[in-house]
Symmetry: C2
Subunit: 512 residues, 2 copies
C-alpha cells in the first residue's frame, strides 16, 4: 500500500504534514528536531546514505585515571580557549586572553585566563614536548638563517642582568625597514618565542602567506592591544615594557586569525597558512629566539604570572564587568569575585609551583583562600543552601544562583591546593574542601532533571522555571563527576556520571 499524506495535529495547537503507510505514521524530522531538541544529519558512507540521529551534540572527555595537582587538569587538553569568538586576542602585553564577553571593550576574565593556562599545561602533558628549532641564541651566535638589512648592525654582548650572552641589534625602527630577519623553513610551525629588550622604539613582524595573499603581524609599542589595516595586523607590546626584558611567546597563526576577525581584509581564511619570515627592528637586545610546534608551557606561565601580578590585597581577582544572570533579579556589579576564578587560579598556581619549585606561586594560591570564607552578601563568594550547606559561588548573586560546574571547579582548586599546602593554609583549605564536598554530596542530585541536568538552582531561589543545562555544560558536569569519582570514595559520583551519560543518548530516568 502506497504512502499518502496525513495531517498530524500537534497537541491541538498546530498541524504538521506527515505521511502514512499502512498502520505507520511518518513524522518529518524538521518537526522532531525542533520539538524534541534533537539533532540529525544525512551521511553518505560508501555510496550508501544513512541518517544519523543524535540525542545530543557533545562528547564526554575522560579525566586522568589518577588526579594529581601537577597532572592534566580534568580533560582540558581538549579545550581551545583562545580560539573562541568571545576572546578578542591573546594580548602581547600579558600573553593571556582578553575577553569581550559581557563587555565588548574587553576585559581580563580570570576564569578564562586560568582555563587558557590549564589547557596549555594539559596539552603539554598530553602532546609531549614540542618540536623546537632555535633560530638565535646569544650563547652561540650563528646567523646562517638571518639576513641583515643595510644600515643594520648585529653583534653579541654579555648581559650582566641575565648573566648570559645576548645579541644586540640596531636598525631603523620604520616598519618599511626589513631590519634583522630570518626566513622560515618550518613554515607549518607557528609558535615563536624570544627574550627581547627594546632600548628605544622597535618592533617585530611575522610575515605569513596564504595562497596569493601575504599578511603581516606586527608587535609594536602601542597602547592598542590589537588593530588592523588592510593585511597588516598590529599587537601592542605595552609602552611600559620599553627598556625591559620581556619574554614573548606568540602563536602567530592565532594572532593572524584574531586579526582577520577584525575584518580589515576581505580574507576569511583560517588555515593553510605558511610562516615566511620573522623580522626584528629598532635598537635592543634579543636572545633565545625559537620556532616551535607549540609553546604551551610559555602560555601556561603567562597565565600563572598574570595571577601573581593581578592578585589584590584580599587574595582575589576581582572581575571588572557587570554580570546579569537574570536582568533586575540576579545581577553583579563590577568588582565581584568568583569562587570558580579563585579555584581555577589555585589549580594554575599550584601547577606553576610544582613545575617551577618557586614558592611565590604557592603563596598566591594560599592567599586566594580568604575569599572563600566571605559571604556573597559581604562581597565574597560563599552562599548557604537552606542554612545548612556552604556553596562557593561562580556568580555570588543575591539571591544565590548555585551554578554547579563553577562550584565543582572551585573544589578542584581546593583539592589541588590541599595536596601541597602546609600549616594553617592546609587546615583552612581542608576545611573548605570538606565543607564543599559535604554540600556537593547533599545537593548534587538537585541538578538531575531526569532527562539532563540543570545549570544552576535559580528556580529554587527566585521561583522561576529551571535553567536546563545545554549539552556542552551537561558533558562538563559528567567529566567533573568522573574526576570526583577518582578523587573520592563515594560511589555517588560514578553512579551519577553513568546516569547522566545515559541521558545524553535519550535514556531517561524512569517515571512512576
Amino acid at each position: 500500500s502506497p504512502m499518502h499524506d496525513v495531517d498530524c495535529d500537534i497537541n491541538h495547537q498546530y498541524i504538521v504534514h506527515c505521511r502514512r503507510e499502512n498502520d505507520e505514521i511518518y513524522m518529518p524530522f524538521s518537526f522532531i528536531k525542533k520539538y524534541f531538541e534533537v539533532y540529525g544529519e544525512l551521511q553518505s558512507v560508501e555510496g550508501q546514505e544513512k541518517f544519523e540521529f543524535s540525542h545530543s551534540y557533545s562528547e564526554v572527555h575522560q579525566p586522568p585515571d589518577v588526579i594529581r595537582p601537577d597532572g592534566i587538569f580534568m580533560s582540558f587538553e581538549h579545550y581551545n580557549v583562545e580560539i573562541r569568538k568571545r576572546v578578542l586576542c591573546v594580548t602581547a602585553t600579558e600573553g593571556v586572553p582578553m575577553s569581550t564577553q559581557w563587555e565588548p571593550a574587553g576585559h581580563y576574565y580570570p576564569i578564562q585566563i586560568a582555563q587558557f593556562g590549564l589547557s596549555h599545561y594539559s596539552k603539554q602533558i598530553f602532546e609531549g614536548d614540542p618540536e623546537v628549532t632555535t633560530l638565535l641564541s646569544g650563547n652561540d651566535l650563528d646567523l646562517d638563517r638571518w639576513l641583515v638589512a643595510s644600515k643594520t648592525t648585529v653583534h653579541s654582548l654579555f648581559d650582566k642582568m641575565r648573566l648570559s650572552d645576548v645579541i644586540e641589534f640596531q636598525s631603523s625602527d620604520s616598519l618599511t625597514n626589513q631590519g634583522f630577519h630570518a626566513s622560515m623553513k618550518e613554515g607549518s610551525h607557528f609558535a615563536v618565542t624570544m627574550d627581547i629588550k627594546f632600548i628605544s622604539n622597535g618592533s617585530i613582524t611575522a610575515t605569513i602567506r596564504s595562497d596569493s595573499n601575504t599578511f603581516r603581524v606586527h608587535y609594536v609599542f602601542s597602547r592598542r592591544l590589537i588593530s588592523c589595516s588592510g593585511r597588516d595586523i598590529y599587537y601592542g607590546l605595552g609602552e611600559n615594557h620599553l627598556g625591559k626584558w620581556i619574554h614573548l611567546a606568540r602563536d602567530i597563526d592565532l594572532d593572524l586569525f584574531k586579526g582577520l576577525a577584525l575584518k580589515c581584509s576581505k580574507s576569511r581564511k583560517t588555515k593553510d597558512f605558511t610562516l615566511l619570515d620573522i623580522a626584528i627592528r629598532g635598537h635592543g637586545w634579543v636572545d633565545n629566539v625559537t620556532i616551535s610546534s607549540s609553546a604551551h608551557m610559555d602560555h601556561f606561565y603567562d597565565a600563572a604570572n598574570w595571577f601573581l601580578n593581578n592578585q589584590d590585597t584580599r587574595g582575589g581577582w576581582p572581575i571588572g564587568v557587570q554580570r546579569k544572570l537574570i536582568p533586575d533579579v540576579m545581577e553583579l556589579a563590577p568588582g565581584w569575585y568568583s569562587a570558580m576564578a579563585q579555584g581555577q587560579a589555585m589549580s594554575t598556581l599550584v601547577r606553576a609551583y610544582l613545575k617551577s619549585n618557586n614558592s611565590v606561586y604557592l603563596h598566591a594560591a594560599e592567599n586566594a583562600l580568604k575569599i572563600f570564607e566571605i559571604s556573597s552578601a559581604q562581597g565574597g563568594v560563599k552562599a548557604r543552601f537552606g542554612d545548612t550547606y556552604d556553596w562557593y559561588e561562580e556568580y555570588p548573586t543575591t539571591p544565590s544562583s548555585f551554578v554547579l560546574n563553577g562550584f565543582i571547579f572551585s573544589l578542584f582548586g581546593l583539592y589541588d591546593l590541599k595536596q601541597v599546602a602546609s600549616g594553617e593554609a592546609l587546615e583552612t583549605v581542608t576545611r573548605f574542601y570538606n565543607e564543599g564536598l559535604r554540600s556537593l554530596k547533599a545537593m548534587l542530585l538537585m541538578y538531575d532533571s531526569g532527562t539532563g541536568t540543570f545549570y544552576d538552582l535559580r528556580h529554587l531561589t527566585v521561583g522561576l522555571g529551571p535553567n536546563r543545562a545545554r549539552w556542552d555544560y551537561h558533558t562538563v558536569h559528567i567529566s567533573q563527576l568522573l574526576q570526583l569519582s577518582r578523587m573520592e570514595d563515594d560511589p555517588l559520583f560514578a553512579r551519577t556520571a553513568k546516569r547522566w551519560d545515559e541521558y545524553r543518548v535519550g535514556k531517561w530516568a524512569p517515571h512512576n
Copy 2:
C-alpha cells in the same frame, strides 16, 4: 522526487527504518512514541483522516474558584475511586472501598476511603440532588409496588428507638424464597438505600438483566466480603450487624461490576444493565427503601463514619500493610501513619461536621492533628528537609521520600480544619499549616524537572535517579497548584501551575 527508504542510526545504538523525500527525513511514529514517551492516534473526522499527536494523556481539572471547607474538594467530582481495579469492592459491612493495593487479601486504606468520600461529596455538589423514588416508608405503608410471596407477612409497627413507624417482614430466609419484593420501573437507576434490621437470618437480593443473562447480587450474613457462584454474587453484611439497625446504600451496578471481576461468570459486560427487582427475606424491620440515580451523600457519610469508628488513641488511622517505595531502601512496616491519610480524613470529617452540625466529626478531625507533630523516626509523619523545613509525609520512610501530592493533600486537610477549629486546636492547626506552607514555597520548585515534575525527592535522599511523575500525577500537581493559588496570595502557585501546564504540551523550560 519519490519517497525512498533510508536507515536512521539512533545514537549509534540501533537502526530504525525511515523514509526520505528530498531534504526531509520521515521517522516512524512507532519509534517516536517509544523513544520520547508521547502518544498518538489516527482519527477519522468526516471521512478525513488525521493523526492526533499528544505530548501527554491527562487533562487538568480546575478546582473551584473559591476554596471552602464545605465545598467541592479540589476537582474530585471527576474521581471515580471505587471503579479502579485495585478496589476489591465497596464492602457491605462498612460501605467503603476495600483496597487490594500492596496486599491482595485486601485492607481498608484510609486515603482511598477519604477519596471515596470526598469524590461522592463533590459529585453531589457538582451534579445536584439525585432523582429519588421512595419504594417503601414506614410512615406511609404503600405496598403498590411490592409483591408478597406465600408464607410471608408484612405489617407496620412503631420503633421506639427510631421513634418512627417501620415495616416488619417475616418469611423463609432461603435464597430460593422470593420474600417481599418490588419490581423496578426505574431500571436505569442503581442506587438502592434502606434502613434495615434483621432480627434473625435474612438477606436482600437485587436482580439485574443484561441482554439474555440475569444476574443476582445478594447481601447476606456471611463473613466473606464478596464472593460469587455462576451469576450469583454475594456481599457479606457482617455477622455482628445481625439484630442491629443498619443503613445500607448500594450502587447495584458497581456491586455487579465488582462481582463480575471475580470471574465466576463468563460475562464481561460492564454496561447496559437493567435493575429488575429488589427482594427482602427472613425476619426483620425495614424503613426508607429508595431507588435513586445516585447515593453520593450516603457514601460520603459511610466514609466519614469509617474515620470516626477507626481512629486510634493517637488520633491516627494506621495502615495495616507493608509499603515498599524502594525495596530494601525505603520500606514501611505495617502500622504506619500517612500525613495524606490524616489530612484527607480531616477534609472528609470537616465536611461531615459542616453538613451534619455534629461536633463528633470536628473532634475527630482535631484529634487527627497530633500525628503531624511526631517525626517519621518516632512512628509519626513529620520529616525535615535540610534541618530547615517540616514536611508531612504521605509515606514516612527513613530516609524521607518527600512525596509532593500527598504533602499538599495534607495541607488541604489542615486548611479545611483551620477554617472551623477553635481554641488550642486552631492554634495547632494554624502552626502546622503555616510551617507546611513555608516548606512548600521553598521546596516546590525542587519538583520541577523542566519538562515535567518529580513525584518525590527520593533522588536527593538516597542518591538514585529521580522518580519522574507520570502524566496523571503531573496533572494532580497542577490541580493542586491551582487550588493553592486560590487559597494563598503568593503568585508562585499560579505561575508554576501555568509552566507545568505548558510542559504537558511539550513546552519545556529553556536551556542556557
